[in-house]
Every structure is written in C-alpha cells, then in structure tokens.
C-alpha cells in the first residue's frame, strides 16, 4: 500500500515538474503568451462592437453583444492555449530534449498530464484577461453570479485540456513544429462550426446540422450560460457529457500517438 501511494505521489511530482517547466519557459519567453492573450481580447472587443445589434435576433438571449461574445472569446483563447503543451513538445522533439524525458523512468500518462497541466494553467490567463476587459471596459453582465464565473473558468480549462490532448496526438505523430499548423486548422474548424458566434436559430443549411451535433456546441453553451442567465443543471449536463467524451477520445488519441514517437 505504501509503495503504491509512493508510486502515485512520485507520478504526481513528475507531472507537476513537467507543468512547472512549461510555465518557466513561458515566463522566460513571454512572446509565447501574446497570441493567446491578444487574440481573444481582440475578438471580444471587435465582435462586441461590430455585431452589437445582432443580439436583437432570436436565440441570443441577451441584450448585450459582449455577454455573448465574451464566452466565445474565452473559449477561443483557451483552445489556443491548448496548443501550449503541443508547441513545447514539438520543440522538444525537434531539439532532442524529448528523448531525455522518454529515457527517464516516467509513465507516458505522467508526461502527457504534465503537458496538459501546462496548457490548462496557460488557459487561465486569457480567460482572466477577457473577463477583465469585458467587465472593466465593455460593461458585460454576469446574471449567473459567482457560479457563472466558476463555470466559465471550468469550461475554459476543460477546452484547453481537450485541445491540448488532441494537439499532442498530432505532434507525436508528425514530430515537428509544422504539426501545430495542422492542429490549428482542425481545432479552429471545430470551434467555428459550433454556436460560438451565433445561436443555432440564426444558422442555416449544412452549417446548422454540423453545429447542432458538434460537441463543442454543448461545451460553449455550458460556459456561456452564466453570461446569459442562471447556471442550471440542464444547461450544464450536456456540456459535461461532451467534455467527458471529448477528453476520453482525445486522451486515447494522444496516448495512442505517443506509441508512434519511436518509429
């Protein structure tokens, strides 16, 4: 029992050390953060201003565009932060540092968890930045109260974790920084083919069907509910199920691709 708890405690320390290394790199190379913080701030400012009247259409359930767009910008920033672990790994694969990690007696799960930990910690920064701008400058509302903020942060972290696992899989397969470009295309396609910018009621044609069945739609609705009204179990449950399924799928994908690293 003691050796089992010591094993898990050791794995936890390894995961924390890998997360810490990522954060250390981020502190020493702040330029890594610029796109993931500037982009969502730009989104919320530009879209709230440009589409201020769009909320008069059915389905938006708010009278302020910023309430709709803030959640969308938070999730965009979090998805982009999910690239962090993948970017770090691609650099390590290119310069050989990844071999040092693989040659150590650590489990793939600890290594992957450490990289995901780095990505989700990164995701809290754009989330906080968007909230500060939305509430401090753009006069956003949070009718869902504290629970609205909690669910927004939770959704941001969950999206970052899912995207991080997904991107890691691509990086393990391609073993180069170029893989990030491929990952971004797939990642942002998933985000844009959802209810991120517009509610289902305002979407037509094939896009409507894709958005309706895209699991990201449920996740965005979950994260957005506090900006539009009360946080409810009915508004949270489909998002939680989608997150669980996405995590499981992306986790299996990342672990499977890790096996290909040495081929």
């Amino acid at each position: 029992m003691t050796s089992l708890s010591s094993y898990w405690s050791n794995q936890w320390l390894i995961t924390a050390a890998i997360t810490k290394r990522g954060l250390l790199r981020m502190r020493r190379l702040p330029s890594l953060l610029i796109p993931s913080i500037i982009m969502p701030i730009f989104f919320v400012i530009a879209f709230s201003g440009s589409f201020s009247s769009v909320v008069q259409l059915d389905g938006y359930d708010t009278n302020k565009a910023v309430n709709w767009m803030a959640a969308w910008a938070i999730l965009q920033g979090s998805a982009f932060s999910g690239l962090g672990g993948g970017g770090l790994t691609a650099t390590d694969l290119e310069n050989g540092f990844f071999d040092r990690l693989r040659a150590a007696p650590i489990t793939p799960a600890s290594l992957i968890a450490g990289l995901v930990g780095y990505s989700i910690t990164r995701a809290t920064l754009p989330t906080t930045a968007v909230l500060i701008v939305s509430f401090g400058v753009l006069d956003a509302d949070m009718p869902g109260g504290i629970l609205g903020f909690v669910i927004a942060y939770f959704t941001a972290i969950a999206i970052a974790a899912v995207m991080s696992l997904f991107v890691l899989g691509i990086v393990f397969k391609m073993k180069t920084l170029k893989s990030l470009a491929v990952a971004q295309v797939v990642m942002f396609s998933m985000m844009f083919l959802s209810v991120g910018q517009a509610p289902l009621e305002a979407i037509e044609g094939w896009l409507y069907h894709v958005a309706k069945y895209n699991p990201i739609t449920h996740v965005i609705r979950m994260g957005r509910q506090g900006f539009l009204g009360d946080v409810t179990w009915a508004g949270t449950q489909p998002g939680l199920i989608s997150i669980a399924l996405l995590m499981a799928g992306a986790g299996i994908w990342a672990r499977g691709c890790y096996r290909k690293v040495d081929i």
Partner: protein
Amino acid sequence: MDNPIEAKGLTRVFGDLVAVNSINLSINEGEVFGFLGPNGAGKSTAVRMLTTLLKPSGGSAKVAGYDVASEASMVRKKIGVALQDAAIDPLMTGNELLKLQAVLHGITRQDAKIRCPELLERVGLTAAGDKRVGTYSGGMRRRLDLALSLVHRPKVLFLDEPTTGLDPTSRVALWEEVRTLNKEIGTTVFLTTQYLEEADQLAQRIAIIDNGQIVREGSPAALKSDVGAPTLRVDVVDSDFEIAKQVMTELGEERPARKGRIAIGLTGGTRAITVVLKALEDQNIEVQHVELDEPSLDDVFADATGRRLEGGGDT
C-alpha cells in the same frame, strides 16, 4: 550475475534499410566499452535500442539485467543517457535542469539538494549553475549533459558521441571526467564515437561497427596487434646501409621504406626494438634516426572494411 549489457542478434530495420544487423554484445561490469564507426554505421541506432528509445525489429538485449523491450521502465531506472548533440533546454539553468532530472528519476527533494550541487562541482559548472544553458559553450553543455545523466547514480552510462563538435581542450577534459567516473564509481560506460583517438584513450574494449554489423571486437591493443607487427624504421649513414639492412631483415620482415631508410615488421612487439638496436651496435653501425610506427585503430578499421575511418578513402 548478468553482464550490464548483453545483446543477441539485435536488429533494427527502417523500411528497406537494415540500420543494425544482428549484433551481439557482452559488456562487463565496470568496463568502458567503445563503439566505434563512421557516421551512419548504426552506432546511435544501437544506443537508442539499448536505452529503450527505439524498439528492436529483431533479437534481444538486456541492460542492467532487464530486457529493453519488455522491462523498459526498469532499464531506464538503471541507466544514464547522454545522447548526441547534448539536447538541453536553453531557457533553463543548469540547476533547474538537474532538479528536473532528479524529479524524473524519483529522487527526493532533500537528496536532490545535496546531489545537484555535488554534480555541478564534479563537472566544473558550480559558477554557471544559475545561468541559462543558452549562454553555455559547447563544452559546458556536454559537461552538464554528463552531470544530468549521473543524477540518479546509474549502473550503466551511455554516452553517444560525447565529444563531437568540441574543441581539443574540452574533449580532453571530458575524457578525464569519464575516466574518473569509471575508476571512482565503477560505472559501466558504453561510449559511441567516430574518433579513433577517443576510443583508443578511453575504452578497455572496442567493437567496430560498419554498415550495421560488428566487424571487429577486442581490446585496442589486441585489435592492433592482430593487424600486424609494428613497423621499425631506421636511418643509418650511407656506408652502413647494406650491412644494416642485412642485420635488420634477419630480425624482421622487410617493409617498404623511402630511399636511405630501412623498415622492418617488429616481430615480438615493441620490446624487440632493443634487440634490433643492440644487433646494429654490435656491427658498429651508427644509427641516425629511429621511428616506431604501431598499427592504429584506423589500420584495424581498414583491415576490417577496406576503407579508412580517418580521411574516408579506400586503402
């Protein structure tokens, strides 16, 4: 007890290319073993298999008593690895990297606090420990790499071309460190190199690999003596040339030499040199110049492959 490194028929294939072709290795406890070969011979592929970074396509290998394929995690606990190009994160400091390596190997924080400064001191990087690795010279990076591979006191140390790209002074300093490690701690060292001098200086036993196959194996001295006797070259005054030639060729097989010089294969090794000089002195022959040319590992490589390792030309 098993030898620290044992390989039987170890093979790695990439598509149509057989990078390592059924090699057998048996390396003794506390030995410095040199794996010598030109670029692309299969050295690094073999090391990557032995260090569990690459799965063998065929054959088997045990390192520190554990199978590299089925007990990879146990192998990793017992080995230290310094791979080619000293892959070190340039944004981290030497201290930070050592601490990270300590965590990866399950060393407690208290032990790491003692061991990390010790290792920095051992490799002469105490003053640079808090500087980012990006500011280190090539030699400093290699020394840090060596320190990183020793954090968990491994039984077996793999050094993959540890001095490639280093200046002569840094190279000699690293050799000294490897020697000390082997002598003081008794670490078994598996060293790959393309430098003949490095293998000759450090390794107690050498395997020469070419096109994925081991073509010679043994101690440097034995390998060189297998190639042939050392060549003794003597210059004498012109008037004594013929008689000196007669005396010397009675003591060894004549070898090609430039005009005015006599060369023989020194049967009996370098100790026979005194016999030859005594015989010349007995005939009152005045010796002007003596030169002894021992076979080199390059001669061994050439004998085994028909090519030279240094210079890369055919023999």
